[in-house]
Symmetry: C2
Subunit: 464 residues, 2 copies
């Protein structure tokens, strides 16, 4: 097929206006469309704001006919630059497609448009006694479409899995403008290739997700938790192994390393003197009469493994206090750093402690301050590599990019992955070949070429 | 690229022997390689029995060079004919690749070869306090490779999902002989396209799965259950809705319709007079002190919804009694039928009762006896369409194939799928276009062509 390109922005804007009306086209867009939660910025030429799948299809056909790049965008909370027009083009924001089309309490699924805020779906489901478990940190602002496009995860993964595990089916506009229904709306289905999960995590490079069928489950009636301080991270991780090994399946197991704990120690209701102390946050959900005794058993396991302080999390207020400690970490790190990069590497759970024991070595080699916290129940570590505001006099000049690559290489040696829930986008595409071998990369590029022969769909992302 | 074909079986056998030795090649194979659990049979020209991924790779390169079809086979328990050489070719049986390579109790995953029996992995995991939930009926004979290739499910789906939800990563030999590592071995990962889940459910048409990384979870310490007889299937299904709606998440919810119950009524410890009575089997797993009171609550919900008989399932022996009733159904149906077809359609859970209410109409229109049982918690219905041994005098001549197609069309109208866990294989490929629209089918065929340009990998399956 022949691919064209039109650099004529006036004509593109005019034809988009014919589809969307003047309210649906921004021709001098600035904030927020020029940024996401990554370090990158790029102003779009034009922003298109469709309200229906049919409009999305017409926009894609236009892009295909005239030859311009389309960059799908949810709420711009991504941390990898995936929704930014780094090589120019039209940003297609799904923000106006925010209907919860179906919330089926008998068949336990929801059908929602891509622009629905994930937390709003979660609340709507809870209002009907149902549960939508995926809980990325950006829950209250990010969209279902973006979460599916990046296969987002969160603390609930240890018990409930990630977004992919809740995607039953996907409606998407493919690069030729065709609307496809991929997957099913039932809990099982194996008819043809799994197109719904191929689109999940494809970061807008294969098609534009316009609506999603999502699995819902019965709402656990209650949640309880606790936070525990341990003398060291290895103590904390031995506790995690013991909790899981004795048949408990928490709905969250989060950790803060000693450096993070040092930053937010003042938020704790007690003082922690030990500079190597680390924190675990554990939650259980289920029926009150089941989890009330169970959290006591978990607390006993913590004590048995050397916990020096326990914070109860039996009430909503107590749980909020605990999570506020966890949430404060990112803010404090940002205050501390001149420049930083937020990793979301994953290592096998059993290797978390030994991997984090190597962090001081990375700090020294690359002149960085590195903070580690994250999901102890699934190995997904938020490793924040920072260039300190005051350079450390005892080390060489900071080399952030080299540090990022060294961490990636080490994670892969341990059997991990370079991104657990953020995706590749722009930020990690140079690292992709470290993880994906040539034979697989060739097939993946082949799929991209097959679906999007003129490379109009989020071009330049994911693959180097 | 140029594709060749070699009809010279002697040469193929000779070259295979050079790779596998004489013990690894069967040149006059009969049972069991000529059949699976479908109505189809086809004798392979040759059976190859590799023991390593490297041998599989060499066989695939040979097939590619000489041009012959390769049909991957697990244990031959499939019900769709997917592993049969219906257009000739070499069956490549993974039965000798049966090592559990890793069972990592700290990082909660297993790495197993494709030929491992699923039940053996389940037992090995349980021995270490871990749980591998997927439980197809063929658990004790089918293989992980076959289960992944068909994305198998089972009763546990309602709480635990299907095979896909446990596949972290896949090692596969692609049609060019390259070995790829798809996916990860951790619980999260979003780096490039989701090749692991594209291979899952692809029924051996894109590559040969040689080993799989599987998620394990903590073993629930106990399981309890009950069976309850209801005056009608709608009563039973209202009970299912109430159980889920009140925050209970059973590890199995199975049903038998009145015709199935009629066949196995003598296996029950009480007599059921009501000809329209239906049976529910419900199980809960978790900590003993949690599920013992909870099963009483579930029993109370059953009684509240009109249950006329309750069978307790608190002990292993009682649970076995209950499941023996369920298992006996298939045997009795086979005895009853001259010819039958086992459907595994899925309808939204909320539509199960109304769909099954239409069964008598299908029976009359097509002169069939139809039995319904299956997974009430996920909508996956085993609808056994049978040609009775004694044709019903009041109806027209049996038309099995027409009945199958009519059921498929109706299921799709209800928002369901034509296969929940068996796959398409040979049996349903003529029905595939009813479910998959042309735009999606074109992309799926494109993926097949991209991966397997000479169509050597299980040719003729899945796509019509």
């Amino acid at each position: 097929m022949t691919c064209t390109t039109t650099p004529d922005l006036d004509r593109i804007a005019e034809e988009l206006t014919a589809i969307l009306g003047p309210q649906g086209v921004l021709t001098a867009p600035g904030e927020p469309y020029d940024r996401d939660s990554s370090p990158f910025t790029a102003a779009p030429d034009i922003v298109a704001l469709p309200e229906t799948t049919e409009q999305v299809s017409r926009i894609v056909r236009l892009a295909s006919r005239l030859g311009f790049a389309l960059i799908p965008r949810g709420a711009g909370t991504g941390t990898a630059g995936g929704c930014l027009p780094l090589s120019g083009g039209v940003v297609i924001s799904l923000e106006r497609m925010k209907r919860i089309i179906t919330l089926d309490t008998r068949s336990l699924y929801a059908h929602v448009e891509a622009g629905v805020i994930t937390g709003e779906l979660r609340d709507a489901a809870a209002g009907q006694g149902l549960f939508f478990p995926p809980d990325p940190a950006s829950l209250d602002t990010s969209t279902i479409g973006g979460n599916v496009a990046t296969n987002a995860g969160g603390p609930a993964c240890v018990k409930y899995g990630v977004m992919r595990d809740y995607v039953l089916g996907v409606e998407a506009v493919m690069p030729d403008g065709e609307v496809i229904q991929a997957g099913v709306r039932t809990r099982k289905g194996v008819v043809g290739y799994d197109m719904a999960h191929l689109l999940t995590g494809s970061e807008g490079t294969l098609g534009i997700i316009t609506s999603v069928y999502l699995k819902l489950i019965p709402l656990p009636p209650a949640t309880v938790g606790l936070a525990a301080v341990f003398p060291s991270l290895p103590d904390a991780m031995r506790t995690v192994a013991a909790v899981l090994g004795r048949g408990h399946l928490p709905s969250a197991i989060e950790f803060l390393d000693h450096k993070c704990l040092g930053l937010v120690g003042d938020k704790l209701p007690f003082s922690v003197e030990d500079k190597s102390a680390s924190l675990l946050i554990i939650e259980l959900d289920g029926r009150t009469e089941a989890i009330t005794p169970e959290i006591d058993m978990v607390a006993a396991i913590c004590t048995e493994h050397g916990a020096t302080h326990l914070m109860p999390g039996g009430t909503r207020k107590e749980r909020d206090t605990i999570w506020n400690v966890r949430r404060e970490v990112s803010t404090r790190i940002r205050e501390h750093a001149a420049r930083s990069f937020s990793e979301d590497v994953v290592v096998p759970i059993g290797s978390i402690a030994s991997f984090i024991a190597e962090v001081p070595d990375f700090e020294n080699r690359f002149g960085l301050d590195i903070f580690a916290f994250g999901h102890a129940g699934d190995g997904n570590i938020h490793l924040i590599l920072t260039v300190p505001r005051a350079a450390r006099p005892d080390t060489q000049a900071p080399r952030l990019e080299d540090g990022i690559e060294a961490v990636a290489r080490r994670v892969l040696e341990l059997g991990g992955t370079i991104s657990g829930e953020h995706g590749v986008g722009e930020a990690k595409k140079h690292l992709l070949p470290l993880e994906i071998a040539p034979a697989s990369l060739r097939l993946q590029r082949g799929i991209k070429q097959l679906f999007d022969p003129c490379n109009i769909m989020n071009p330049g992302k994911v693959f180097p």
